[in-house]
């Protein structure tokens, strides 16, 4: 299982890369591995305002379809449209394939998220 230093992780297996008050959000390598071959990614639209833990899209693999949840609250300012045409990119590079870019409503909420070490432990316990 691959993880990356410096990212925040949620218990729903999303990662967050913070840049000031903006954040990139994707799903972890662990998540893509468990989902299997991803065939479709449904994304929100720019300007959608979403609360933490609210569903912001769907990842559909040959095995299942799973909702993906907001690890932070915020407004969508960009979506990675490339994923709509090439969902397999998530399998190839989960941390390189961001889903959405948001302007965060409240940076303090980041404290609820895990760092690399905690997330690795979390995944090991989940196994």
């Amino acid at each position: 299982m691959k993880t990356v230093e410096g990212l925040y992780y949620s218990s729903d297996h999303e990662w967050v890369k913070v840049e000031g008050n903006k954040a990139l959000i994707g799903i972890t390598d662990h998540a893509q591995h468990n989902l299997g071959e991803i065939v479709y990614v449904e994304l929100p639209e720019v300007d959608d305002e979403l609360e933490k833990e609210e569903s912001f899209g769907v990842v559909e693999s040959v095995k299942t379809a799973s909702d993906i949840y907001m690890p932070v609250s915020g407004t969508v300012i960009e979506v990675n449209e490339e994923l709509e045409d090439s969902p397999e990119l998530v399998n190839e590079d989960a941390f390189g394939s961001w889903f959405i870019k948001v302007e965060m409503a409240d940076n303090a909420k980041l404290d609820d998220l895990m760092d690399k070490e905690d997330y690795e432990k979390f995944c090991a316990e989940e196994e």
Binding site: Y40, E42, P44, E45, D48, V58, E60, A65
Partner: protein, 447 residues
């Protein structure tokens, strides 16, 4: 003679004994006596097969169908020519009895039919994707509203008052139970009032629905309405169309529609006393995963032979039920088959011919009816195969007179539009002959 129930009194007593009941009435004791019928049904004594056949035949003969009358009634259901080929193919057992492909991939015939149907509907509407058909036009239209609300995450749908009144009622019912606000936009001179549409179309709009040709048979300015729709942030442009009209009109796809729906009855389906018919729905590629029903794709099997598969049913109720936006999982398979055979039989040129003849005959009828001034046009707009005329005479009187002359008259517009009275909507299809139209005109003249 006694009604035919195959079990004997002894059989029934034994069954009651097993479940510990004394009589049949015991089985209903949970229902209060006051709610039970304490007498026999008011039905005459049973008849023999021969007697009942004769009885039913007599009753049936009271009906006057479009085989007995000359039909100028439309308003959503049309008396178009149906090639006899359709009945022969559609009544084959493997089509007539198959319901829905539950074990999809072994139902290659059914899948192929759906694939062909979807291809034809996509081509006809100028869209990328069609589902496998729906109950009827009105429900397809309502579902289109739900799709728009789902993709835009908005809860306001706008519909023009020139959309068929029954379609609007069905859409209203669907929206009501999804907490979607439905706004009806007024009309002006028989078409959607675009100024009023501009006032209500805003960034909170999920979709705008217009009918073309509209309920009065008039061609709407779709280009203008498309622009108004797409000038909002997200709204989807939904058109409800008469498929026959696409033989001469520009396709909705070319005019920027996002969702095209309509009633498919005209495509080789009988009037069936108002149903069953079929609804069609076609969308742009981007909405493929949001539509109700299923999509069949073409592929090859391991021996490289052409084959068909259920490719997509992303919004069907059995796939992530809580995410479904529709509870429609059935399609009108047999009706869809008939419309597919119709389109293939007629071909591009045939459909065009049907459309042109309907248009020309409708215009001939309109010119003749309005010639003397007894009947006046209600609107002054280009129309396809239906038109409204008014006079001083009540519509039911007109229709009664027509019926005496074996003519099924038009639709009374006053039933649905308060400000339009003594107005009648006539439909003229390619089936009508010059003699039939002239007869209609002569009966109207002597009223």
């Amino acid at each position: 003679m006694h009604r035919y129930i195959p079990n004997t009194k002894q059989d029934r007593d034994e069954m009651l004994d097993v479940i510990g009941a004394n009589s049949i009435d015991d089985l209903f004791k949970d229902i209060p006596k006051s709610l039970r019928l304490d007498r026999d049904l008011k039905i005459d004594d049973s008849l023999s097969e021969l007697e009942i056949r004769n009885h039913m035949k007599k009753l049936g003969n009271k009906n006057q169908t479009i085989d007995d009358l000359t039909c100028f009634l439309g308003a959503g259901m049309y008396d178009h020519y149906i090639p006899s080929l359709i009945g022969h193919i559609a009544s084959r057992g493997e089509f007539l009895t198959s319901y829905t492909p539950y074990q999809a991939e072994i139902s290659q015939g059914t899948l192929r039919v759906i694939f062909e149907y979807q291809t034809l509907i996509s081509n006809l509407t100028g869209m990328d994707v069609s589902n496998a058909s729906m109950y009827d036009g009105p429900t397809a239209c309502a579902e289109a509203g739900l799709v728009a609300a789902d993709v835009t995450r908005k809860n306001k749908v706008i519909i023009s008052k020139t959309v068929h009144p029954e379609v609007r009622k069905v859409v209203k019912t669907y929206m009501k139970f999804r907490d979607i606000e439905l706004i009806e936009v007024d009309m002006k001179d028989g078409v959607t009032d675009v100024d009023k549409l501009k006032e209500v179309a805003d960034d909170n709009t999920a979709g705008i629905i217009v009918q073309n040709p509209n309920f009065f048979g008039i061609i709407e300015n779709l280009k203008e309405i498309e622009e108004i729709t797409h000038n909002t942030k997200k709204a989807k442009f939904i058109t409800y169309v008469d498929p026959i009209s696409l033989g001469v009109l520009k396709s909705p796809g070319d005019l920027g529609a996002d969702i095209v729906v309509g009633e498919g009855q005209s495509l080789g389906n009988k009037l069936n006393f108002g149903g069953p018919t079929l609804g069609f729905m076609a969308v742009k590629q981007k909405l493929a995963r949001k539509i109700p029903g299923r999509i069949v794709g073409e592929t090859v099997d391991k021996d490289n032979k052409r084959s068909f598969v259920l490719t997509l049913q992303a919004r069907e109720q059995h796939i992530r039920r809580y995410k479904a936006i529709s509870n429609i999982c059935s399609n009108q398979g047999l009706n869809a088959l008939m419309s597919a055979i119709y389109l293939v039989t007629m071909g591009k040129e045939g459909l065009k011919e049907v459309a042109i003849q309907s248009l020309q005959k409708a215009h001939y009828a309109f010119d003749k009816i309005t010639e003397s001034g007894k009947f006046k046009p209600v609107f002054n707009k280009p129309f396809f195969k239906e038109f409204a005329v008014k006079s001083d005479i009540k519509v039911n009187e007109v229709n009664e007179k027509l019926l005496e002359n074996k003519i099924l008259g038009g639709y009374d517009l006053g039933k649905d539009y308060n400000d339009i009275d003594n107005s009648i909507l006539f439909a003229v299809t390619e089936k009508r002959t010059k003699e039939e139209i002239d007869k209609l005109v002569s009966v109207l003249e002597v009223l």
